[in-house]
């Protein structure tokens, strides 16, 4: 599960007014714990998930885990 595309570079963290950076982020669903590279604010750690990722790869992983 990886964030791709150029869309995210345009987004800034509104609170910290910082550009987002790619970083290792822990995600969890049911029994599954992963560490994935996602864009996030280096100051407040707010993680950015775009629509394509949420409804694409992320949903696929969710469904895969639900069917395990």
């Amino acid at each position: 599960m990886k964030q791709e595309g150029v869309d995210q570079v345009k987004w800034l963290c509104d609170k910290c007014q910082r550009e987002l950076e790619l970083a290792k982020v822990k995600v969890r669903y049911m029994e599954g714990n992963f560490e994935v590279d996602l864009m996030k604010c280096p100051t407040c750690n707010q993680v950015y998930i775009d629509e394509t990722l949420a409804l694409g790869k992320m949903k696929e992983v969710e469904e895969g885990l639900e069917d395990k």
Partner: protein, 781 residues
């Protein structure tokens, strides 16, 4: 879940059972495949099927006494398929030069064959092919026995000679002009490992096993006319083949009897319904053999008998290209695996649990029950995908929360006395009803959760009607019966819900429930048999309709019965009486009443697999040119969403002037919540004249929602209250992303087990939504 019992149910399904023609063919030629190949003009493939199953196919194919034809189902609708003539045509057009087969080394034992007629030759060739040293004893000077008497129009001497030459080429030792009698047989039994006796008669009575053709426990096996007592050539060949199988099993020291119950002619359990089939007469031959075109046409008459009754009625079974037997095997696998993916989950959650399959099945196999039990087992084992039913269960929780749920006795005479002094009001049936109030609740109106969500404005009218018409006080009970929990397999949640309803019923001194929703009726019948129920539609029939001048445009309607009412024929009749009384005509659908279909909401398939739900909708709405008439709120909403003009019975009973009710779109998911809350507020204010205990939902931010975003909200099961919560957090905490180029914001908030994302732009005081989405995965920031 008892998986052995499950598999037994699957084994009862006759979908895969052979047709009568195959069951009556002693060598089980795969006749449906054979005819399908002819139909496609593939004569060579048809030929290969004959070659595979029929000993000496070039001979038998021309003289077979075709026991397959008489029981052919087509015989009841035009005349049996002429299978025998088609075999002759296939021999004519489909023959090819066989590939050279290398013989196996002959090291498996010695077998003597007595009699070189059809059965003996079949046994000899089969055993030779398998590697036995075969020796033939024949009393005449040629192979073939009585086959020589069969020479005629179809079978020629040249053909027989060619076939027997092929036998001779196998170089089995053959003793011609050698008569075997009782004494020499005893001798042969000592010299050979096994002996096959295929003479047409024998000097003394012999007893043999009807399955194995073995004589006692000896090494002697019999077949042919001696056993069959008929002239049937195909039975003769079949017995030779079956005896050869026994000999091989005997010499290999394996069980002679295992899995042999379907050898030879047997009775198939298949039940094929031809009641709706058009008769078609057989194609006549113009010359002695069918032309290829004639053969193709004749083959097309075949019904390809297979029981597909449940599949024909069910778009779910068709979408997954499965039948109960195969479905159950998949469920069995899904239930048994410990590690790995449960591939059948999606399928199991795509069944509408409507019960039509059982209604259509000759054997009452109910996939509805199977699926239901499976879902309960999945929930119990923690294997039910949460996302499948999460929204529906949250919706149920909403309906049972204080935002909708309500229990009230009929307003007392004392509380209502001011109404009795206004002449106009006091003449109304409702006020008369209040005046007769006794304080004892005889009836409890339980409209369910989806009807108030779709028809918020009619609930008060219905309540007033009931107070004014039924004998005894009428209370109200708003809530959800638990149908979503039942469909989702949530046993404990279901039981909790049932207990809650039972508690209200007891506290109210056991009133009769008046139900308006088909799913509620199903749930009450299933879980609450002690509660007396009556359907609102039955009450209308008994007490008379509320208004007098309903009819607008007289027209013919087709009634779609709700699948939850399948077994409730009284209710079907009540609905029809109301429709006729209102002045409409009725044209019944092919699948109606006890054979009705699901609209696409049942079993929560609407939430678990929207594509499957759409397939249910589009199939059903295509079944009539007429406008549909339904009496379940979800049926109405789904059919209108599917582009079909559909009336709910309430549209006709409580007509409204301002909208075209047959095309009124379904409320959004958020509107369904709001409508339910509104029903509660209206009832409290206008019937009980109470100030609502809770303020209506906070107004929140003013939102501008373009059509494409609205569609996303619905497709992704996102409520406006989720949006408001995200925006509130974003605005107050500044937790959001911004895009300086477009001026857009993107904000998220986790609510329970879902993270909601909203992309928006500010337009003055309002928020213009540009996209919404969600995910269940949790981000550990």
């Amino acid at each position: 879940m008892n998986l052995d019992k499950l598999l037994e149910t699957g084994d009862r399904c006759i979908h895969k059972e052979p047709p009568t023609c195959v069951a009556n063919c002693p060598v089980h030629l795969e006749i449906i495949d054979f005819l399908s190949e002819i139909e496609k003009g593939n004569f060579q493939n048809a030929y290969k099927l004959m070659e595979k199953k029929m000993p000496f196919h070039k001979i038998i194919g021309r003289i077979c006494d075709h026991p397959c034809e008489a029981p052919c189902e087509r015989s009841k609708a035009g005349g049996s398929i002429r299978i025998s003539d088609l075999e002759k045509a296939v021999l004519e057009y489909g023959g090819y030069k066989p590939k050279k087969v290398w013989p196996l080394p002959k090291n498996k034992g010695k077998v003597a064959i007595i009699g070189a007629g059809l059965s003996g030759l079949t046994a000899a060739v089969d055993l030779d092919k398998k590697g036995y040293v075969v020796t033939i004893y024949e009393k005449t000077n040629q192979l073939g026995g009585r086959l020589w008497d069969c020479i005629g129009d179809s079978l020629t001497e040249a053909m027989l000679l060619e076939e027997f030459k092929a036998v001779a080429d196998k170089k089995m030792t053959t003793h011609f002009e050698t008569n075997v009698d009782k004494n020499s047989l005893t001798q042969l039994l000592t010299e050979y490992d096994a002996v096959y006796l295929g003479t047409s008669d024998w000097e003394e009575p012999i007893e043999w096993d009807p399955i194995t053709f073995q004589v006692g426990n000896s090494t002697l096996f019999v077949g042919g006319r001696l056993v069959n007592k008929t002239d049937s050539v195909i039975l003769s060949a079949s017995s030779g083949r079956r005896a050869a199988i026994s000999i091989e099993r005997y010499l290999s020291k394996v069980s002679l009897t295992d899995s042999r119950d379907r050898e030879g002619v047997f009775e198939t359990p298949l039940h094929f319904d031809i009641s709706k089939k058009e008769p078609l007469p057989p194609i006549e031959k113009t010359v002695t053999i069918y032309s290829q075109e004639e053969a193709t046409e004749e083959a097309k008459r075949c019904f390809k008998c297979q029981c597909r009754k449940c599949i024909e009625g069910c778009v779910h079974l068709r979408k997954f290209e499965t039948s109960p037997d195969a479905y159950i095997r998949q469920i069995n696998h899904n239930e048994r695996i410990i590690l790995g993916t449960h591939y059948a989950n999606k399928m199991i959650n795509s069944c509408a649990e409507c019960g039509l399959c059982k209604e259509e099945c000759f054997l009452d196999i109910s996939m509805n029950d199977v699926i239901h039990e499976t879902r309960e087992s999945m929930v119990e084992r923690g294997k039910m995908p949460v996302s499948a039913h999460d929204f529906a269960l949250k919706d149920m929780a909403f309906s049972n929360s204080s935002r909708f749920s309500l229990v009230r006795k009929q307003p007392s005479k004392e509380e209502s006395k001011d109404l009795f002094y206004y002449p106009l009001i006091s003449f109304s049936d409702y006020v008369k009803g209040l005046y007769k109030g006794t304080g004892k609740t005889e009836y409890l109106f339980y409209p369910g959760c989806q009807l108030p969500a779709s028809y918020p404005d009619d609930i008060k009218s219905i309540y007033e009607y009931l107070v004014g018409h039924v004998k005894g006080d009428v209370g109200i009970y708003l809530g959800c019966c638990g149908a979503p929990a039942d469909w989702a397999g949530q046993t404990s949640l279901m039981n909790e819900n049932i207990e809650a309803i039972k508690k209200v019923w007891t506290e109210m001194e056991q009133p009769t429930f008046i139900l308006a929703c088909s799913s509620c009726i199903r749930i009450f019948e299933k879980y609450l048999p002690e509660i007396k129920i009556e359907s609102l539609w039955d009450v209308y029939v008994r007490e008379g309709l509320p208004n007098k001048d309903h009819i607008k445009i007289p027209q013919t309607l087709s009634i779609h019965d709700a699948c939850g009412t399948r077994e409730n024929s009284d209710l079907h009749e009540s609905v029809r009486k109301i429709v006729l009384k209102l002045g409409y005509g009725i044209e019944e659908l092919e699948y109606s009443k006890e054979k009705t279909k699901c609209c696409g909401y049942g079993g929560l398939v609407y939430y678990a697999n929207r594509e499957q739900s759409d397939a249910f909708i589009s199939e059903r709405v295509g079944e009539s040119e007429n406008d549909l008439l339904v009496y379940c709120a979800m049926c109405k909403d789904l059919f209108v969403a599917g582009g079909k003009r559909t009336y709910h019975l309430l549209d006709l009973i409580y007509p409204k002037d301002d909208v075209e009710s047959a095309t009124r779109r379904m409320p959004t998911l958020s509107e369904r919540h709001q409508n339910r809350s509104r029903v509660k507020q209206i009832l409290l204010k206008e019937i009980w004249r109470e100030e609502p205990m809770e303020a209506e939902m906070e107004a929140g931010y003013s939102l501008i929602i373009p059509e494409d975003v609205q569609k996303k909200l619905e497709d992704r099961y996102i409520l406006l209250e989720d949006i408001q919560a995200v925006l509130k957090n974003a605005e107050e905490q500044n937790e959001r992303f911004c895009n300086p180029e477009t001026g857009e914001y993107l904000a998220r908030l986790r609510r329970e087990n879902v993270t909601y994302w909203v992309k928006y732009r500010k337009e003055g005081e309002a928020f213009l939504l540009t996209s919404v989405y969600s995910h269940r995965m949790e981000i550990l920031e």
